[in-house]
């Protein structure tokens, strides 16, 4: 991904829009008694499109903004989401994303990882209350939601960042019609 100031503005807009959508919509709806969490999927999509560095920085920024808005200790969400964005970026750098199922599967797997890491982090920091086994159910259902929401999120972000994507530019160049004799 070629990050120009204009693309940077688009990434910031994506992060802010995703945050508002999460806090004002997804966190307040319940399906199967669980609220979907789209933020790991956004970090995964940015990592898949921009590489490990872009994924890590975006994940860190999303986490920091989230912790600021829900007024919790800063750093916990940043650490989890930067790992998720980084891992998605590493996948993109090592393997080709040729199958259309790769983004939703990565969203699902890495959302599960994010939820489990966040739970581990909270347990390490100390939770002063008993913990219900329903936490595990919540994590699994959130990751299933991430699979289904991963497709539109990935495609939407890909569309928004299209001018910066190297592969798309190459495809578009090769798809341009050529005039005979020109």
């Amino acid at each position: 991904m070629i990050v120009t100031p204009r693309i940077m503005v688009r990434i910031v807009a994506i992060v802010v829009a995703a945050m508002l959508l999460q806090l004002s919509f997804f966190s307040q709806v319940e399906v199967l008694q669980t609220s979907p969490d789209i933020l790991p999927a956004v970090a995964v999509s940015l990592g898949l499109l921009g590489g490990s560095l872009a994924g890590a920085v975006s994940g860190f920024a999303i986490g920091l903004l989230l912790d600021c808005l829900i007024v919790e200790a800063l750093g916990a969400s940043s650490m989890v989401l930067l790992s998720v964005g980084y891992l998605a970026g590493v996948y993109r750098e090592r393997f080709d994303v040729t199958n259309s199922l790769v983004p939703p599967l990565l969203c699902m797997g890495l959302t599960l990882l994010a939820e489990a890491s966040f739970a581990a982090l909270q347990l390490m920091l100390g939770v002063d209350a008993p913990i219900s086994a329903l936490i595990v159910r919540d994590m699994v259902i959130k990751s299933i939601f991430a699979f289904f929401l991963g497709v539109p999120i990935y495609l939407g972000i890909r569309r928004a960042l299209r001018p910066a994507l190297i592969e798309d530019q190459a495809v578009r160049r090769s798809a341009q019609p050529r005039m005979m004799g020109a």
Binding site: S24, Q28, L74, G75
Partner: protein
């Protein structure tokens, strides 16, 4: 060239990880830093706008979910209605007695709200995405008289308390947050059994009334209200008498072994739309 890129990438990653640890160390246990207040103040109007714009879509999704859930709840609710009918009759008698006693001792009729508090009604405009933090953001802040530690209720019962406030928004930490602890009382016919209401993380339909006296036995379906203690300069944030929930599981074995019983909160903490902040 490639090595330089890899080194730069690793350096940035290390910097981000170290920054996360540093932030966590510096801000852990503090719920209201300057940065958080600033960001909340900036985002408050946008959150409020997004909340209003997305309400129809949110209601539609919740309607589908609740319709499926309602099928299973129907039978349980019918049993509950029968039980409540008999309780209402008993309650009316008690209310009449209570009114007479109040007149006798010359007390002012308190109404439904605790005395000395002014309610500020707020709309929920944001909610934490993780079960580890049970917090919601409301659209009223210090400009409406909302202060940190003000108790928050809704039509059903206790919801939580204010833990952070900007001019236009405030953060409510729900009673299901793992940092929450409310001094409470299970009401029996002649006395109250004191304890502390704590959550069970991940299950917002179950609270635990902990630290109860193992010599006194709490029974299923007893009402639990805030205890509102005041002693040696220390006072509970919550005034006496706000309903919290009803005891659902109170085995004698559990009470004797771990001094706790299970309570189902009255307030539906999963679907909060409006809350009332009790300001002084």
């Amino acid at each position: 060239m490639y090595r330089k890129q890899v080194r730069r990438r690793r350096a940035v990653l290390a910097l981000l990880v170290v920054s996360s640890f540093a932030l966590l160390t510096a801000t852990y246990g503090q719920r209201s830093g300057g940065l958080q207040r600033g960001v909340s103040a900036v985002f408050g109007p946008f959150q409020e706008g997004a909340d209003r714009a997305l309400k129809p879509a949110r209601d539609l999704v919740n309607w589908f979910d609740q319709t499926f859930e309602a099928r299973g709840q129907n039978e349980r609710l019918q049993d509950e209605v029968e039980q409540l009918r008999s309780e209402v009759a008993a309650g009316k008698v008690a209310l009449s007695e209570n009114n007479q006693l109040r007149k006798l001792v010359g007390l002012q009729r308190a109404g439904e709200l605790p005395l000395g508090f002014e309610p500020v009604t707020g709309r929920v405009i944001g909610k934490s995405p993780t079960v580890w933090y049970s917090t919601v953001t409301i659209d009223h802040g210090t400009s409406s008289g909302v202060r940190v530690n003000d108790p928050v209720i809704n039509g059903d019962g206790l919801v939580g308390r204010i833990t952070s406030a900007t001019r236009g928004t405030a953060q409510v930490t729900l009673i299901t947050d793992h940092t929450s602890a409310v001094s409470a009382m299970a009401l029996t016919e002649d006395q109250g059994i004191q304890g502390v209401i704590k959550p069970e993380v991940g299950n917002p339909d179950d609270l635990i009334l902990d630290f109860i006296d193992s010599n006194q036995h709490v029974r299923t379906s007893q009402l639990v209200v805030t205890a509102g203690f005041k002693a040696r300069g220390l006072a509970s944030f919550y005034p006496y008498g706000i309903p919290i929930g009803r005891v659902t599981d109170a085995t004698i074995a559990e009470q004797e072994a771990s001094q706790q019983v299970h309570v189902r909160p009255f307030a539906d903490l999963r679907n909060l739309q409006f809350v009332q902040v009790l300001t002084k």
